[in-house]
Symmetry: C2
Subunit: 108 residues, 2 copies
Amino acid sequence: MSRAATSSDVFNAVAEPHRRAILDFLATEERPVGEVVRALGLAQPSVSKHLRVLREVDLVCVRRDGRRMLYRTNAEAIRPLHQWASTFERLWAHQLRRIKERAESKRR
Amino acid sequence: MSRAATSSDVFNAVAEPHRRAILDFLATEERPVGEVVRALGLAQPSVSKHLRVLREVDLVCVRRDGRRMLYRTNAEAIRPLHQWASTFERLWAHQLRRIKERAESKRR
DNA sequence: TTGACATATTCCCGAATAGGCATATAATAT
DNA sequence: ATATTATATGCCTATTCGGGAATATGTCAA
């Protein structure tokens, strides 16, 4: 064994900055691959590969339109991530206070 | 160039399941490394390495206590992730509806 | 059918990864 | 000083990754 879970996982899929950019771009409306390529300035094969990863974890959905493929972000698939992050939400205020205290005690 | 941003990035740091487990475990109170090792059943060097990555992106903070190091999750550092995910929050309800429509039209 | 267009896939590469293991560093106890 | 405990680091390997370039697949138009 060497590396963990790999990208068949939402957290991993989203770890790639370009993929986040793609998700942002496809959030509101469906777009063909070519537009993603133009918008993000990436190479077409690169975009296709990223879209494949995103598709595999259901972060985007596809639809064929003639010879084009229309992709759109499946926001629902981002929920697990949001929920996990929310777990820590309550601690923010509390910890901000603690951090200040720590900073001051370090300056002993 | 070969790979993107790497783990000097919160999204990447959190992509590793074990690291998320560590963050969960250290969320409420600070703990020495040994306890993380016992709790998660990982090898000690492995835990130390994960903690290093988490420290580098400020997801945990450390404090020395005698010969032990007390780690604790810095929930504040998870905010960017939460905020990014929140971007898509509004679309959830809307998309759930769309997905249903799609499912029905596919069953043409 | 042939050609043009849109997208996907394959192969190659260098870089980065996590884990296993041995060892180094740090701090206390004797 | 030395042993012991707690943690960190270094090295090694197999695996994975993203990008580039070339090519395959699929769809429409003529």
